[in-house]
């Protein structure tokens, strides 16, 4: 399966090289001409995108996709993709843009462009409201649960004061159990995991204490499309300003936007 996906990805990449037109029209023009924007969204990554009860994709990214289409005044064609093929879809113009919890990396920046960030994605230390912790130094004497070997656990081991008790568990589920059952005061994990906990056990709803590693999500688009890029950033900026993005965060991530987003 993996091999097939890779082969497919390689094939897509090849076609992209083979058929890239020498003179390219900006993506924005063709979108406006067709009155349709094709947007690749995740289908396997809740709460950003997963199949709902009616088997239609739903999530933060799908709402964001519809928001963009609405702002452009065109129809949205939602294309469910997987993590592995979301960039090939873009490169072969099967999708105009990718809104699929895409993080920025040097490798990816070589092949595609990124808009400004549209969704917060980070790991941090979370705890119930009554616990006053604002920085690693405040962890003195506290008990934090984390999944052994995860980035947040390794970072915490470095930054937490010596008398912090870090309880390391085998997997995410055990770490979550430890937090939900009250065996640890705080939990070091990703914001999506914290959202899942908040949804299922509201009495132990984790709120963000501080961020450990920030890697927000960006919209991916093909290179050399300055008009589309400018338009997307304009829409994102407007959605941020009038609170649309904050609403998405409350709806899907069960938390306000982190400070500075």
């Amino acid at each position: 399966m993996l091999f097939r996906t890779r082969l497919l990805a390689a094939l897509f990449a090849l076609t992209a090289i083979g058929f890239a037109a020498p003179v390219k029209a900006d993506g924005l023009d063709s979108i406006m001409a067709a009155k349709l924007i094709k947007i690749a969204v995740p289908q396997d990554f809740a709460p950003f995108g997963s199949a709902g009860l009616d088997l239609k994709p739903q999530g933060y990214d799908i709402d964001m996709a519809n928001l963009i289409a609405k702002a452009l005044g065109v129809k949205a064609e939602i294309i469910p993709v997987t993590s592995a093929n979301r960039i090939p879809y873009l490169q072969t113009h099967k999708a105009d843009i990718v809104i699929s919890s895409l993080g920025k990396s040097i490798e990816r920046e070589k092949v595609i462009d990124f808009s400004n960030a549209y969704a917060p994605f980070f790991s941090g230390v979370f705890g119930t409201k009554d616990i006053a912790v604002k920085s690693p130094a405040d962890l003195k004497g506290k008990t934090v649960g984390a999944t052994r070997g995860a980035i947040e656990e390794q970072e915490l081991t470095k930054s937490a004061p010596a008398d912090t008790t870090i309880k390391r568990f085998e997997d995410n589920n055990a770490t979550i159990s430890a937090f939900v059952s009250g065996q640890v005061d705080l939990i070091a994990t990703g914001n999506t995991v914290a959202a899942a906990i908040a949804e299922r056990t509201p009495q132990r709803a984790p709120t963000l204490k501080f961020v450990i590693k920030d890697s927000p999500c960006y919209i991916g688009l093909n290179k050399d499309e300055p008009k589309l890029m400018a338009k997307l950033n304009e829409i994102i900026a407007k959605a941020k300003a009038d609170g649309e993005i904050a609403k998405l965060s409350e709806k899907w991530l069960k938390a306000p936007l982190p400070p500075g987003f």
């Binding site: 052994r148 070997g149 390391r168 568990f169 055990a174 159990s177 430890a178 059952s181 009250g182 065996q183």
Partner: protein, 221 residues
């Protein structure tokens, strides 16, 4: 495929491994002493106690012997807080080990008790020994001598099984090994070392228990 073992990669972590080893040893000693005491009480209660107490013991033994240790451990650590009983990971580990060994040793010791000839008990009673004297000097003494090898094996099994407590973040030898492996990715070396430590620990315990048996039951029947 050639793999170059690099045990030197473990050196910076010797302290964590040593602390883990010490925790495992203490955990084993304490749970052995308390667990065997619990087992003795359980076996005596089941054989000589009132009927209702015997039933309670049967329920306890069956419940523990027919469920996995890790489930018992998770029940105590993750489950009980829902009832307001919050035990830290070390206490939960000790408790789970004691309860587990208690149940197994109840059955082992009961076998020993039932193997004591009835005539011996009657002889004790006819010599005007009290109920407790009969239990201690006639029944249990003989029972322990008979089941000592089986009990020793169970204690070793419990020691090896204690590796599971690392799952609730109790910092035993296995927890230390997992921690080191997550830091230097030298899984092969770490688990070779830890397996050897467990092996040596088991051999040492067996030797110690055999010596203890010789001291306790000298002039065996």
């Amino acid at each position: 495929m050639i793999y170059h073992l690099q045990f030197s990669a473990l050196l910076p972590y010797w302290r964590a491994l040593l602390d883990g080893l010490i925790f495992t040893v203490i955990l084993t000693i304490v749970s052995t002493v308390v667990g065997v005491a619990l087992g003795t009480a359980g076996a005596s209660a089941r054989t000589f106690g009132p009927k209702w107490l015997g039933r309670v013991v049967i329920l306890y033994v069956e419940l523990i012997r027919n469920t996995p240790f890790i489930v018992q451990l998770f029940f105590i650590f993750f489950g009980l807080p829902a009832l307001g009983v919050k035990l830290n990971e070390s206490t939960a580990a000790f408790l789970a080990m004691v309860i587990n060994l208690g149940a197994y040793s109840t059955e082992i010791i009961r076998a020993g008790i039932e193997a004591v000839p009835k005539g011996h008990i009657e002889a004790g009673v006819s010599l005007a020994m009290s109920k407790w004297e009969v239990l201690c000097y006639i029944v249990l003494k003989q029972a322990f001598r008979k089941i000592y090898p089986a009990l020793s094996s169970q204690i070793i099994i419990v020691m090896l099984g204690s590796a599971v407590v690392s799952q609730i973040s109790a910092q035993d030898l296995t927890y230390a090994a997992n921690f080191v492996a997550s830091r230097n990715f030298r899984n092969f070396e770490v688990y070779i070392l830890v397996a050897v430590i467990y092996l040596l620990l088991a051999i040492a315990m067996r030797t110690l228990l055999r010596w203890l048996g010789r001291v306790l039951f000298k002039g065996a029947v």
